[in-house]
């Protein structure tokens, strides 16, 4: 049996599954025979981990064995204790282990101490009361004392101050050891107990760091060791190295430093790579205290740098990294970059790249050099460096170096532009670098007047085409194109788009990525505008200007108050609401079961709620949402409104079907109408501003899958954007409402409002909501309809329609002036005129892509002033939006971080 278990262990070591035999190993530990028991313990320690289920079967055996009078059994049990006891089981064996500290065999005492050390590592609190045992140190056996040093080292590393009193005893122990007072058996290669010496020196280094008084006690003994150590043997050098570490850590003493420098030079001159390695390491420690030491070893260091040994090279680079000053930064960083280019190991490449960046940021002698360096780093390790670095670089180029010297900034920018134009043609640039390039070219490409817009745009188009699979880069490129054109227009020059650019935009406007689509449309819209409008939308060189956003929407306060006075209910946050919804949910559940068969999040059940009691759910469901919504807030017009549902009711089913067929086309017509897109871009500009102020880049915030890593910033931006959008929403419905006298119009103005209010709210409710909201439009609409149909439509009433209405009415009240006030007070008037013409479409486009179409439809159709049609057009639109919305909210509510996956599920 023993043989089998051993073989099982061997089999597992070779990488095969041996879990079937674990139980036999456990059984073997119960055996009486010493041989079998030991084998069992060996196998168990190799097989199991501390949280394994079978551990519970062993704890009892361990307890018993710890009390055994055969010390081998005890040792085997202690061995198992080290490996298998976790925080919860420590108390079960702790008393026995502590008892063993007084065992007659020193081997057992040693192991017991080590086991306690292990407990300390697992859970420091469990053995805190035993610290005094460790402190006693004195055991008759030096080996046991040596073992005690291990836990003490850990304890001191955590809190050096409470062990200062032990300095004297450590020093005297070290002295005794160094003077060979220990029995001969502790010698190793003629060195007296080197491992104990090393351990003690490490402890002294900890205790003496920054403590002059404690350090003074150590000077003599460390000096003695320096003198006595025999530097021919490996272990002697190990002790010497430890001495250097100690000297470099404690309060500096010139004599010792000298001795250390001597040893270092001996190490560096040695032929052994090991010693060179130690020498370099020691040098990098000592250099903090006395930088001049390095100078005499310059040549040796350079030799190490050119050594074929990779480990040595890396260590040397670490040394160089530590001794970098502004005077030598150029050489060192150049060297590092050369080395970085030469290696393949991604892990180390990343490290070197980040160090290069750090040094360059810290010590850069000139902007020009900095940009060149960053270019190199990006070029060769662009995908490995933190994307923050890219944003820092962009910001740096945008802001200059903080001096007020404009010409220097201009020079910096033009040199950056020049170098990027040179680099841009190269194949295989990392995407982070391309993003920087695109951004800089877009922002400053034409600024110097050196390059024509067509030249820059040609390059940008090339980039976008060459990286057709990378959406982020394409997004950057399109935004850069837009900027270039905008600046051109603003400067009063005529813009003619290059044919390749035109085809690119065409292509992107049909892209699968809604983000790219939106950018493409924006670009098209901007190009058609006149200089004045463009200047407002895309102010030149404004990437560093802050745009203030009123996050609290405080300008709505007065409106809220007023409506409260008029009897409106105060807004109840969604989470407080959900309780009662769940209850009504319960009732209606069975009737809707069919609808939910595809997906089953809890959140899904929210919308099922209240429809049934009032109306038979199947046919009338769509209309229900409309009825309650207008009622409370416009009591005067209730009777008019009441007629609406019937209209939309009849039309709704039919309309829904029609939508299915037409679905693919939505979005285009509205977008292409110039006016709507102009307002669109206005809102965009606001967004732009926000983005730029935060991350110095227009596009990042909207790039869904961008490499931009500061997620939080993105979230923040989006929520700001959301709020802005929400406030923008209010504008149209108000402007509409004012002139409106017929019930239809009111109904119309409210219903888009309903749909919109939910949007922002859902988003605000959770951060994932932001993402999902963006993602929602991605879905093929038919799916949305299928899924949402019965479930979602009824959601509006269930979630307390009144609340929702109110939420959306808040923005409604906000006059458009207020909106713009947040954005740009002075220039608002101009845009407003544009705005009020086609209010809905532009604003809704900010929130979600599909909305503008619907809103636009609704908006345009009244122009025809057929009431019936309004009903028709309106019917599906808000419902459609509501469905999406509810869907979005479900996403938001469900704690899902990965929305793409979710959609895959949805799509089946």
């Amino acid at each position: 049996m023993k043989e089998f278990i051993i073989r099982l262990v061997y089999v597992e070591m070779l990488g095969h599954d041996a879990s079937f035999g674990y139980i036999h190993a456990v059984k073997m530990t119960h055996d009486d025979s010493l041989l079998l028991k030991r084998t069992g313990y060996l196998a168990v320690t190799l097989f199991l981990n501390e949280d394994h289920d079978l551990i519970i079967l062993i704890v009892n055996t361990i307890q018993k064995d710890l009390k055994s009078d055969n010390y081998l059994v005890v040792c085997a049990a202690l061995n198992a204790v080290c490996k298998l006891i976790n925080e919860e089981t420590i108390p079960a064996v702790l008393p026995q282990v502590v008892e063993l500290l007084g065992h007659s065999k020193e081997a057992v005492r040693k192991k017991a101490i080590m086991a306690l050390h292990r407990f300390y590592q697992r859970s420091p609190s469990s053995v805190m009361h035993l610290v005094s045992n460790f402190r006693k140190l004195c055991d008759n056996d030096p080996g046991v004392m040596g073992a005690t040093l291990c836990p003490l080292f850990d304890l001191i590393a955590v809190d050096a101050n409470s062990y200062k009193d032990l300095v004297i005893s450590f020093v005297s122990i070290l002295k005794q050891v160094a003077e060979r007072r220990l029995p001969k058996t502790y010698d190793y290669h003629q060195m007296p107990a080197p491992f104990i010496q090393i351990r003690l020196l490490k402890i002294l280094a900890l205790l003496g760091s920054g403590d002059r008084q404690a350090s003074e006690n150590m000077y003599t003994v460390v000096g003695d060791i320096f003198r006595k150590c025999d530097s021919t043997s490996n272990i002697g050098n190990a002790v010497l190295y430890e001495c250097i570490c100690c000297v470099s850590s404690i309060y500096p003493n010139p004599k010792l430093l000298e001795a250390a420098a001597d040893v270092i030079s001996r190490f560096l001159k040695s032929d052994s790579h090991n010693l060179k390695y130690m020498g370099i390491d020691a040098l990098s420690r000592l250099i903090k205290i006395s930088p001049e030491i390095a100078e005499q070893h310059q040549l040796a260091v350079i030799d190490c740098l050119e050594d074929p040994d990779d480990t040595l090279k890396r260590k040397t680079f670490e040394l160089l990294y530590r001794m970098t000053k502004s005077s030598n930064v150029e050489v060192i960083v150049d060297r590092m970059i050369d080395y970085m280019i030469s290696i393949n190991d991604n892990h180390y490449k990343t490290e070197i790249a980040s160090r290069c960046v750090e040094l360059a940021e810290q010590f850069a002698p000139s902007n020009h050099w900095f940009i060149q360096t960053m270019n190199k780093v990006f070029e060769h390790a662009g995908d490995l460096v933190n994307s923050k670095v890219a944003h820092n670089l962009m910001r740096l180029i945008a802001e200059g170096f903080g001096e007020d010297d404009d010409t220097a900034d201009c020079q910096l920018r033009s040199s950056a532009v020049e170098s990027y134009l040179r680099i841009i043609g190269e194949p295989k640039l990392p995407s982070a670098f391309l993003q920087v390039i695109c951004w800089v070219l877009g922002e400053y490409g034409t600024a110097g007047g050196k390059y024509s817009a067509s030249y820059i745009t040609g390059k940008l188009c090339d980039v976008a085409e060459a990286h057709s699979s990378n959406d982020t880069v394409k997004a950057y490129a399109v935004t850069a194109l837009m900027k270039v054109y905008a600046f051109e227009i603003a400067a009063g020059r005529k813009v003619d788009m290059l044919p390749e650019c035109q085809s690119l935009i065409e292509e992107l406007s049909a892209s699968h990525s809604t983000d790219l689509q939106q950018r493409a449309y924006e670009l098209q819209a901007v190009v058609t505008l006149d200089a004045h409008a463009v200047e407002i939308i895309m102010p030149s060189d404004a990437s560093c200007e802050d745009i203030e956003v009123d996050k609290n929407l405080s300008f709505l306060d007065s409106y809220v108050e007023r409506s409260l006075e008029q009897g409106a209910q105060p807004y109840i946050p969604e989470n407080e609401r959900s309780g009662m919804i769940n209850i009504c949910n319960f009732r209606s559940q069975d009737q809707h079961d069919t609808s939910t068969h595809t997906l089953r999040f809890e959140a899904y059940e929210l919308p099922k709620t209240s429809a049934p009691p009032r109306i038979s759910p199947v046919s009338l469901a769509p209309s229900t949402e409309l009825v309650p919504v207008p009622e409370p807030s416009y009591p005067v017009e209730t009777h008019h409104v009441a007629s609406v549902p019937s209209v939309s009711d009849t039309g709704s089913t039919e309309l829904r079907l029609r939508l299915d067929g037409v679905q693919k086309k939505w979005g285009r017509p509205t977008y292409s109408s110039p006016a709507s897109s102009s307002s669109d871009s206005t809102s965009l500009k606001a967004v732009n501003g926000v983005t730029q102020s935060d991350v110095s880049s227009t596009s990042t915030s909207r790039t869904r899958d961008s490499s931009y890593d500061s997620r939080s910033a993105q979230g923040e931006i989006s929520s700001e954007k959301k709020k802005l959008a929400a406030s923008l929403f209010g504008g149209p419905s108000k402007t509409e409402k004012r002139p409106s006298s017929t019930s239809h119009k009111v109904a119309r103005s409210t219903s888009p409002a309903v749909e919109k209010s939910q949007g922002p709210k859902a988003v605000a409710s959770s951060t994932t909501g932001v993402v999902s909201e963006k993602a929602a439009p991605l879905q093929p609409p038919p799916d949305l309809l299928d899924l949402g149909e019965p479930t979602v439509t009824s959601s509006a009433p269930s979630v307390d329609p009144f609340k929702q209405l109110e939420g959306l009415l808040d923005p409604t009240q906000a006059t458009s002036a207020a909106n713009y006030g947040a954005v740009d007070n002075t220039k608002a008037a101009d845009i407003m005129s544009v705005y009020s013409e086609f209010p809905t479409s532009g604003q809704s486009s900010v929130i979600a892509n599909p909305l503008p179409t619907n809103a636009g439809d609704a908006n345009l159709i009244p122009g025809l002033s057929t009431t019936n049609k309004t009903g028709h057009a309106k019917g599906p639109n808000p419902r459609d939006a509501l469905e999406k919305d509810a869907l979005v909210r479900q996403m938001g509510v469900t704690p899902m971080s990965q929305n793409p996956n979710l959609f895959r599920d949805l799509l089946g």
């Binding site: 060996l42 501390e50 590393a157 190990a238």
Partner: protein, 165 residues
Amino acid sequence: MIRAVIVMNTQGKPRLTKFYDYMPPEKQQELIRRVFGVLCSRAENVSNFVEADSVFGPDTRLVYKHYATLYFVFIFDSSENELAMLDLIQVLVETLDKCFKNVCELDIVFNYSKLHTILDEIIFGGQVLETSSAEVMKAVEEISRLETASNTITLVPKSISGWRS
């Protein structure tokens, strides 16, 4: 502390592995492969130290020594001294040598449990326990003596049980 001890041959087959922090077997295999990848890419006559951050996470070093067909690899963190670890490998090998009289790879394969016994006497729970190969020998011999004594009723002839235990 010492994180792991690996003995493998020059073909990358593990001969002895001991991880002082638990690693699931699959992870162990992966680590062994990567360690081997690092080791066989290193030239002769270079230092015995490798920074193993990329394999074992931050703050780990690796010291190895090449004997005949075997690599002895110790993986440890910054609380140990590289040169001292190199000597610890020396201690381990010396002890094995004394134990098996001119140790070779086959000895290690056939005396797997004895190898573990020796290692347990040198390193305990990731800390260095004993550095004198004579002391280790003494302890190991006593263990095997006691084991056979408690196992008097055995069908295997003593000569064979000598190398089995």
